[in-house]
Subunit: 330 residues, 2 copies
C-alpha cells in the first residue's frame, strides 16, 4: 500500500496560496498592531489555505472517534481491562463521555465508528496487529468517515492503544522504548516495564519495514482508520486538528511516506506522553495547548477547536485600518 | 485607600469549599482515568468554588473593556499616537475590534467603559498619573462595571499603557526596567530606551509607597478601573480570567495588599512582555495559553474562556463510573 498511498498524496491538492495570502494580508491590516495575535494569525492563514477561502470560519466542526480492541492487553500493558473499551464505546454513543461533552460545548458534531471493539488485534508483542485485508478495511473505513465539514478532529478509544502508539513511534524514529513510552492511562511499574519490553521487541521485529507496514503490524484497527481518515481529509482539502499521542502515531506513517501528507494538520495539544513530543518535533508542529491532558478520544484537539474559531474571526470580523480611516504606525 | 481595600478583602467570602470538593470528587469519578484532564479538572474545581455551585458552567461570560489615555505618551514610549485610543474605542463600541470579534465567538457579552479617553493621565515620568479624587472615581467606576454573570474578563485599551504596567511591576517587584519592560505594541530602539528610562525614574520615585499609591501614581484610569472591578468581582464571588500584562499590573497592587484578593482569578494567557511572566510568577498562576499574543483588550483571556467552559462540561456532563456500571481500575 505504500506506493498507492504515496501516489494519492502526490496527487493531492496544494494549499490555496491565494486564500492564504489574502488572509495573511488582512491579518496584517486589521485594527491591531501587526503580529499582535502572533500564532493565532498563523492559524487563520492555515485555515484559509485548506478551506480554500479568504473568509475562513469554523461553523461545522466534526469529530470522529474510532474505537478498537488490542490483543496486546494480554501482556498487561494497561491499567484497564479490555472490556472497558466496550463500555466507553457505549458512553460515546450515548453522549456521556468526555469527548462528547466537549464536542457539544464547542459545537462539533460527533460520529463514533467501531472498527474493532470485541475483535481485538493480534498481540503486537509477537504477531501482526492486523492482516493485510483487515488493515485495508479499517483504513478504508476511516476514509469513508470523512464527511463534508469545515474542520475535522479524529479521536480514538481503545484500551491498551498507547502501546501500539509507542511501538510505531519507536520504529519510525528508531528510538528505544525508554525514550518514547509513557504510562498511558497510568500503569504501575511492573506493567510499565512490560510495556517497554513489548515496544523494544516490536522495534526489533519491524526495524526495516515500510511505513504502512509498520502501521499494519504495530498499530490497531482505530489507528489504521485514523490514518485513512487523515489521508482522505488531505485529498479533500479539509483542515484537521490533531489530537494526542495515539492520533499522531497513527498519522506518523503517512508523514514518513511524504511530509506533505500532514500539511493540512495542526497540533491541538501536547500530551505528557514522551513519544508525543517526539512526533510533534518530527512533524515540525507546535501544539496550541499544553495542559498535560492525557485522555485521547479527541479531547485535546477539541479543546483547541475554539482557538481555531477565534483565530478566523479575529481576521474576518475585525475592521482594517483603512476601513476605519486610521493610519497605522508599524 | 490601602486600609479600606485591605478591609474589604478581609471581609470577602472564602471560596465555596463544599462546591469545590463535590466537583473534585466527581472529576475523579467520571468515565476517564483519574487526572486525565489534568489542569482542566483544576479549572472546573476553581470555577465551582467561586460560582459556589457543584454544577459550574459558563453560560453568560462578560467582557468589560476599560479605555483611557496616558500622558506618558509625550515621552515617545509608544509606536502609536494617543489619538488611536479614540479610534479603537469607537471600533470596540461598534463591534469591529479584535476583542469584540472574539467575544462574539465565545458567547461573551461586552461593555466598553471610557474612563479617560481624551483626558490623559499625568505624565508618570514626572508627575502622578491620577489625583486622589480621580483615582477613586476610576476605581469606583470599575466596581460598578461588574454585572451579574458567571465569568468575567477585564480588558484594556490605552495607547502607551504598557509603560504604566512596567512601572508598577518595577516598583512592586523592586525590579529594574531592563527586566520588566518590553516593547509593547512594538516600539523601536529609541522609544524602548525612553520607556525603560521612564520606568526606572518612576521606580526611584515610588520606591517606598503603599500598593494603591503605586497604582494611583504610576497607573492610569483604565488600570485603576480594572483594579476596582477585580476587587468587586472578589467581593461578589464571581470568577475572573485575567488577561495580559496591563491587566495583571492593574491587579498586582491588590495582590500586594493581600494575596487572597486574587484567589478568584486564573491566568488566561502569558504574553511575551517580560513583566507579565514575572507577575504571573508572583501570583503563583500558570496561564492556560501561551501563544505569544500581545494585544490587550482582554483578547488573551477571551481566548481562554472556551477552556473554562469545556473544563466545566467535562465534569458536569460526563457520566461517572458508578452511573455507568463500570468498575474503575486506578
Amino acid at each position: 500500500m505504500n506506493d498507492e498511498i504515496a501516489g494519492l498524496i502526490a496527487g493531492a491538492p496544494a494549499p490555496d496560496a491565494a486564500a492564504a495570502s489574502a488572509v495573511r494580508e488582512r491579518a496584517a491590516n486589521v485594527l491591531r498592531p501587526a503580529g499582535a495575535l502572533a500564532r493565532l494569525d498563523d492559524v487563520a492563514v492555515w485555515l484559509a489555505a485548506w478551506q480554500r477561502t479568504a473568509t475562513p470560519a469554523v461553523r461545522k466542526p466534526h469529530l470522529v472517534v474510532f474505537a478498537g480492541d488490542h490483543g496486546v492487553t494480554a501482556e498487561g500493558v494497561s491499567a484497564y481491562p479490555a472490556e472497558v473499551t466496550q463500555a466507553m464505546l457505549k458512553a460515546l454513543d450515548e453522549g456521556v463521555a468526555t469527548a462528547t461533552a466537549m464536542a457539544a460545548t464547542v459545537g462539533a458534531t460527533v460520529e463514533v465508528v467501531d472498527v474493532g471493539v470485541g475483535h481485538p488485534t493480534g498481540n503486537i508483542a509477537r504477531e501482526p496487529a492486523l492482516s493485510d485485508e483487515r488493515f485495508r478495511e479499517c483504513f478504508e473505513r476511516g476514509r469513508r468517515a470523512v464527511v463534508d465539514c469545515d474542520l475535522l478532529v479524529f479521536g480514538e478509544m481503545g484500551i491498551g492503544n498507547t502501546t501500539p502508539a509507542a511501538a510505531i513511534t519507536s520504529v519510525l524514529l528508531n528510538c528505544p522504548a525508554e525514550k518514547c513510552t509513557g504510562r498511558g492511562t497510568g500503569v504501575d511499574d511492573a506493567a510499565f516495564a512490560n510495556k517497554k519490553l513489548v515496544v523494544d521487541t516490536a522495534r526489533a521485529r519491524l526495524r526495516d519495514a515500510e511505513p504502512m507496514e509498520v502501521l499494519r503490524e504495530l498499530g490497531g484497527s482505530e489507528l489504521a482508520a485514523i490514518a485513512g481518515a487523515t489521508l482522505e481529509a488531505r485529498l479533500r482539502s479539509i483542515p484537521v486538528v490533531l489530537d494526542g499521542f495515539v492520533v499522531c502515531a497513527s498519522v506518523a506513517p503517512l508523514h514518513a511516506l511524504e511530509a506533505r501528507a500532514l500539511e493540512h494538520c495542526i497540533a491541538g495539544h501536547r500530551s505528557p506522553e514522551p513519544g508525543h513530543g517526539l512526533l510533534l518535533e518530527l512533524f515540525g508542529m507546535r501544539p496550541l495547548l499544553d495542559l498535560e491532558m492525557r485522555l485521547g478520544e479527541g479531547s485535546g484537539a477539541l479543546a483547541a477547536v475554539p482557538l481555531v474559531k477565534i483565530a478566523a474571526a479575529a481576521v474576518t470580523d475585525v475592521a482594517t485600518f483603512q476601513e476605519w480611516g486610521v493610519e497605522r504606525s508599524d
